[in-house]
Symmetry: C2
Subunit: 102 residues, 2 copies
């Protein structure tokens, strides 16, 4: 078999979503827009630093978008972009597999 | 939204396949039985120690099976179990997403 190279779709996908928290953040955002605090509560055990870093990476990749409402106190909401929503079918498969096989 | 708990299918799946090399090992084994050395060549950059450890974990989970042929030199082959093969649809989705979106 050939070496797994940069043209492999799985390699490309893993580069973007290949960390435990990234997958769980995106899976959570599949259910809709959320504020930072809500995400943190849902993703029990994630540190604010890690959450913030992962969200920034995902914004940079065009997977997550951040919307800031200039209210007092400031409201910041995160949601999936159109590109981000296309990942849902991967998480749906993971969800189905986890429920069936374990 | 509720906390992501141990009943979440995605959480369960990630516990088993949630590391970069694990995903790439399984994706590689989807194309058939392989010897240790072949896996190592295909997965460029993996250390023998990591490959060996990941394969052991996957054996323990009933995802990968090891077959030893008592020849000289010893031949050891790895393949997916029936349960392991059911993961293929996750990697197929990842592959398709990576090719389309990047």
């Amino acid at each position: 078999m050939e070496k797994l190279g940069p043209n492999c779709g799985v390699v490309k996908t893993i580069k973007i979503i290949g960390s435990k928290w990234t997958i769980l953040i995106l899976h959570t955002l599949c259910s809709g827009t959320m504020r930072f605090g809500e995400l943190q509560r849902t993703l029990e055990g994630i540190s604010p630093k890690t959450l913030s870093l992962r969200l920034q990476e995902l914004e940079k990749e065009g997977i997550v978008m951040k919307k800031i409402f200039t209210e007092v106190p400031l409201r910041v909401e995160y949601s999936l972009t159109k590109k981000g929503i296309t990942l849902k079918e991967i998480f749906d498969k993971m969800d189905a597999w986890g429920r069936k096989e374990n």
